[in-house]
Symmetry: D2
């Protein structure tokens, strides 16, 4: 897709810190590591709160990593619109991540419409093995609202 | 489906407390409130850690409520098999929950096979409004492993 | 949901015959059998073209039955808007239908917003056994366009 | 993934012709055009039966193209196992294909386990634009059955 990022990594992290302070509380855990046309990467350094007994990263943590990564790649291309909301997310859990950190959420815009954005997400572990795959749909608020910002 | 629960509410809660102690740490937050043939209800009394700024229950919390409810209705019908794992979960976020607690995850077995179980989940708020809908697929470990327990 | 149908079964079937003549070409195969607040039922009497060798109803046929049923329940509540389009459909195939016809697509509105509608679908065979479950999201065109019709 | 195809394009097409003769009846419409480690491409040359009035490729046709492509990439890597069945398919419809044919279903194995395979599918039109994205889960019959082949 002929899309171009409109936010830098620093601007995105500042926006997340303001809108979702709780995700990095006691952390940092999440960091945006790459932005390029149509794509972004979000990294998670999990700690105890993200794990199941035995050390496996929990399902809700993988969901959050996919969902937040999708949000990041959308914001990176439309600017800081706090009101974009997930309407649908499908996640396939494929295998347990290798021991040790981090995990990466590699996110790619499949569609960036006026009303809907669709993102493909691949979560890989530190060895590059695919741990989970997800697709997420976000609803984007009408442009008249965001234009005034 | 002609299925019959094989675990009581008390047995399920004891199993969850042993296998997933972290979900009710500082709580209790989650409680199994109903088990009947082919169905179960899981209740969440969210606190601050489950919320987004502004008071909305977070997406990962709704995911966890759907996923855990699906696990509960499956275990209720096959017994305490810790190794059942989610392979796929699709969730539709429909509307913001009414202010105030609790949320209920109403889970219904669509299929309970030897290898796969599929569960339909409706999450409702305290006014009975549907907040989210999900379907989850769990992989069930071979019976030879569970038979020896 | 406090929704009310605005189309009759006859009006819906006339609209489908005009917009999608090919679905009942050589038929009729599809018929709307029920409309009630928030719900509708679409019946399929499959013939050879809908079957796999061996007599099983094909996956694409079950998909079409779910998708068309979702369209029907939405139109029944917003009126004949030909431009509503599916944006996402998730389907779980649960078991083979019993021999013999018909199949029923039982569709229920989970959300009917200005921009998006979400429908839960259960496909049952002639014995009432659940054959498949689906959830579908439709994008609804802006009301200004439809209001002029 | 360290996987290796075990069937050639010719062998796959011969198998499809035998198991699913109806898909190319009056055609050919579907052809396997690429097989490589972990991936395959299925091409569709749609004719009238695959279209909606106005010339758009229908939703059930895109579903069938995704589902059949997923089946092809799995068979290519496990051999001709007719009993592999779709258990779940999620499809996102992104945009209308460009006028003219063909469509390509680019399929990639995300997981190839003993019991489940998960495939990521991208459907592109003749200009390479992504028309739809899907993920499909197939249940694979026990190896004792396939081992004797």
């Amino acid at each position: 897709m002929a899309v171009k990022p409109v936010m830098t990594i620093d601007a995105l992290e500042a926006f997340l810190a303001q809108e979702f302070p709780q995700i990095n509380e006691g952390g940092p855990f999440y960091a945006v590591t790459e932005i390029e046309p149509g794509a972004a990467v979000l990294r998670l350094m999990p700690d105890r709160r993200h794990l199941r007994p035995g050390g496996t990263v929990s399902g809700p943590t993988l969901f959050a990593l996919a969902d937040l990564g999708a949000y990041v790649v959308i914001l990176a291309h439309i600017g800081p619109v706090a009101l974009a909301v997930t309407t649908n997310l499908t996640i396939n859990f494929l295998r347990r991540p290798a021991d040790g950190v981090p995990l990466y959420s590699r996110c790619r815009l499949l569609k960036l419409g006026k009303r809907l954005a669709v993102v493909d997400v691949i979560i890989v572990d530190k060895e590059g093995t695919i741990v989970a795959q997800a697709s997420a749909t976000y609803s984007i608020p009408p442009q008249t609202e965001t234009a005034v910002k």
